[in-house]
């Protein structure tokens, strides 16, 4: 399931000095050209001299170009290590070397094998997917359960367990964010500089907005006001839309589609969880409606991202999508035979598949 090949977005196209070049004198700086706009993550570019000193100055980016000045009078092999954030906040990093005069040993040459150009680490990928899973489950437990309460207008029957569900959801929503940050850092490097850079990027702002949603729900839940919480849910779904993969050429449509998809999923899954505790006959139709909306929006998203049938089979994204469709199919089958608990369990698996999808880059 976890591909070994490159799956991060920003890829290094060209560099000056080029990898493995042997030059007469040290150029005044390192210049990297990527396949899309980037911003430096943490230090951005680091250059280690043959004696192991870091000789690069502050990195600056302009569009797809990243530049850092450097100065040293040593000769031998220099190791360049870079880490960047793509426009959609996905991280990538890499390293290469070049030599001045003749090649020599470099204490940092282990960086060269640490990661291929343009890859994120498997651990980072797993954490990112886990963070999204926790977020989606939290989203469902909070907004789905509250939505169910609004639908059935019944706070009195068995309120304690239902309250616990929402409380758990709030905890999950909050816990997802440090996980997401950790996932981002694990793909780059786990140090304070990088953490600051990641938090100061668009990723950090979206993270803050998701946390804001969770905290607002925590505040409003103390007086159990239903409709304002659902309003916050719409906002969180929109933020999820903004942090998902953009559909090339149609950013707003993509955002709205993802938001609709997430919201419908949340109402369905959370509603089911509440239904298990406080059954209500009205749930059947409500669930069917949520499912239909989720399915249609999901279908449109899939078409927008995959486009060709070929990509469905040949890319990791396509494979994960197929698995998700199969799992959702299973959910539907279980729903038809009315085994609600099983349905809920399989749904959590479907959300896991969705989380993997969100962490993978769509084929372009």
């Amino acid at each position: 399931m976890i591909p070994q090949v490159a799956f991060a977005h920003a890829q290094l196209i060209q560099s000056g000095p080029p990898p493995d070049a042997i030059m007469a004198a040290l150029p005044p700086g390192v210049e990297l050209l990527f396949n899309e706009s980037v911003s430096p993550a943490g230090a951005g570019i680091k250059v280690f001299s043959p004696s192991g000193r870091q000789i690069a100055g502050r990195s600056v980016s302009r569009g797809a170009l990243l530049y850092a000045p450097m100065a040293s009078d040593e000769t031998g092999t220099f190791v360049v290590s870079w880490q960047v954030l793509a426009a959609d906040t996905h991280p990538s990093r890499g390293a290469f070397r070049f030599s001045v005069g003749r090649p020599s040993a470099n204490p940092y040459s282990s960086l060269l094998t640490g990661g291929e150009i343009g890859t994120a680490s498997p651990l980072g990928f797993v954490l990112q997917a886990l963070a999204r899973w926790v977020h989606f489950v939290g989203f469902a437990l909070v907004f789905g359960v509250v939505g169910y309460l609004a639908l059935t207008r019944d706070k009195q029957r068995n309120p304690h367990l239902v309250k616990r569900l929402v409380g758990t959801g709030i905890v999950l929503l909050i816990a997802a964010e440090p996980l997401a940050l950790l996932g981002q850092l694990a793909s780059l490097s786990i140090d304070t500089d990088t953490a600051i850079a990641v938090l100061a990027s668009g990723f950090g702002r979206l993270l803050a907005l998701r946390l804001a949603g969770a905290l607002l729900v925590w505040a409003l839940w103390s007086v159990e006001s239903t409709w304002p919480i659902l309003g916050v849910g719409v906002a969180v779904a929109l933020v999820d839309g903004a942090s998902a993969h953009a559909i090339p050429g149609l950013p707003v449509a993509g955002l709205l589609l993802v938001a609709t998809h997430v919201a419908a999923m949340g109402l369905w899954v959370g509603g089911l969880a509440a239904f298990l505790i406080v059954p209500d006959r009205r749930f059947g139709r409500y669930a069917a409606l949520c499912f239909a909306v989720a399915a249609i929006s999901g279908l449109l998203l899939a078409v927008a991202h995959i486009g060709l049938l070929q990509a469905l089979m040949s890319t990791a994204y396509g494979q994960a999508l197929m698995i998700k469709v199969l799992v959702v199919g299973a959910v539907l089958a279980v729903a038809l035979i009315r085994r609600r608990r099983l349905e809920f369990g399989v749904l959590l698996t479907a959300i896991a598949a969705a989380a993997v999808l969100a962490a993978l880059p769509p084929p372009r």
Binding site: A200, G204, R205, A208, A212, W218, A219
Partner: protein, 429 residues
């Protein structure tokens, strides 16, 4: 023909004193850049002085309240004005960071601390029964008005005449206010044979005896036993962190980092002040009418959201910045009237001033810690976004805290202690 109630004259004089005090306190924010230029002190050094000032300004509160109970409002306020004037005058001859810490930090901090929110709460509490929230709002807005008048003027002076002229002007202003306070300010309605505005009975608060310091700590003891005290203090900590600490101290440098001229940046803060006056007056009015907890929830919630949007605002369209300023200005200190109101309901008319003093101390503690943290963030990482974002999130935590106040029991007065703090039980005779 009915004569104007003396309570309004007391309120007006208090307004002037509070206005001056706020102006004096706002001065360090326009001094950051000139001091950096003249002495080469970095922003972290100046942040330390600002933090000391904020901490002492806050910690003075409960002691000032106890002093006012013991010696009266008038003496305490006149003494405070003299202290501020001394401190401001002496800064003109300083040449080392420790002198900045001592003068702006300690001396001016203590002086202005006696003319702070506690003074407003005490005056509104003693002189008004009807319209108490509105008067409290007006007195709190005095702070914003003071900044409004002093900040652009001081910013202009600092830029064109040098920062020393600005410091001397502060001292002169403090000396000018002192005689007005000495003549017109009175301690309590019964001193003039009056009742508080809208009161049906004369006040008969016994004079406090014993050491004001001991009394201040007795107030703290009353507070820390109560869950609501911690909720109020916690939310007020966040309030201070997100207003005085972050925006008050750092908005101007942050704007200048984004290429704004100093005067323009200072007037930015002044515009916040205008909306602050409107917002705080409105808040006082609303406090007389609505559940203070929901008012606070909206204030903190809106503030948190506007802080989270701030990183999008800088470097983007002017429109966004203006929107932020309006939004943010409206609830800058709008939180004070509902918080005082809740404190009075929970801790009772006799004791709330000292307890509120401690809650206000939490406010300043928050302001100081964030002022320092944001300065450090800026010095080390070159970016404010983190500081803005995290205090935005903290505001939302505060929004959650205030809704939980007095939920375990009715929101009315809970346990009115038999006797006010600092008043001895009458001996049998």
């Amino acid at each position: 023909m009915r004569r104007i109630h003396y309570a309004w004259i007391v309120a007006a004089v208090t307004f002037i004193a509070l206005m001056g005090a706020a102006g004096f306190r706002a001065t360090p924010s326009v001094l950051i850049v000139p001091l950096q230029n003249e002495f080469g002190w970095n922003r972290a050094v100046i942040s330390v002085a600002v933090s000391i000032n904020l901490i002492l300004f806050g910690l003075t509160g409960p002691f000032a309240a106890a002093l006012m109970d013991r010696f009266g409002i008038r003496k305490v306020t006149v003494g405070a004005l003299a202290t501020v004037a001394t401190g401001a005058l002496l800064t003109t001859v300083m040449n080392a960071p420790w002198q900045l810490y001592l003068l702006w930090g300690v001396v001016v901090g203590l002086g202005t601390g006696c003319m702070a929110s506690v003074l407003a709460a005490t005056v509104a509490g003693r002189w008004f029964v009807q319209r108490r929230g509105l008067v409290l709002g007006a007195l709190t807005a005095a702070g914003a008005t003071g900044q409004l008048i002093f900040l652009p003027a001081l910013g202009w002076m600092a830029q064109y005449l040098g920062w020393r002229v600005a410091a001397v002007s502060v001292a002169l202003a403090a000396l000018a206010v002192a005689p007005i306070v000495a003549i017109f300010l009175r301690n309590r309605p019964s001193d003039l044979g009056l009742r508080a505005y809208g009161a049906t009975e004369a006040d008969n608060v016994p004079l406090s005896t014993g050491s004001p310091i001991v009394n201040a700590f007795r107030g703290l003891k009353v507070g820390v036993r109560s869950r609501d005290f911690w909720l109020l203090a916690g939310s007020f900590f966040i309030c201070g962190a997100s207003t005085n600490g972050l925006i008050g101290t750092h908005l101007i440098p942050a704007s200048m980092d984004h290429g704004m001229a100093e005067v323009t940046a200072a007037s930015l803060l002044a515009v916040i002040g205008v909306f602050d006056v409107i917002g705080t007056l409105a808040s006082g009015y609303l406090t007389d009418r609505f559940d203070s907890r929901w008012l606070l929830f909206f204030y903190y919630g809106l503030r948190g959201l506007s802080l989270l949007l701030l990183p999008y605002v800088f470097g983007s369209a002017y429109f966004g910045l203006i929107l932020f300023i309006v939004f943010y200005g409206l609830d800058w200190v709008a939180t004070v009237p509902p918080t005082v109101q809740l404190a009075r309901k929970i801790f009772g008319q006799q004791n709330f001033a000292i307890v509120y003093g401690w809650i206000f101390a939490a406010h300043q503690l928050g302001a100081a810690s964030i002022a320092f943290a944001a300065g450090a963030v800026r010095t080390v990482f070159g970016d404010y976004q983190l500081a803005f974002m995290s205090s935005g999130l903290l505001c939302l935590v505060a929004a959650g805290l205030v809704l939980r106040i007095a939920r375990t029991r009715p929101a009315g007065p809970v346990e009115e202690p038999a006797l006010p703090i600092g008043v001895e039980a009458p001996a049998y005779s």
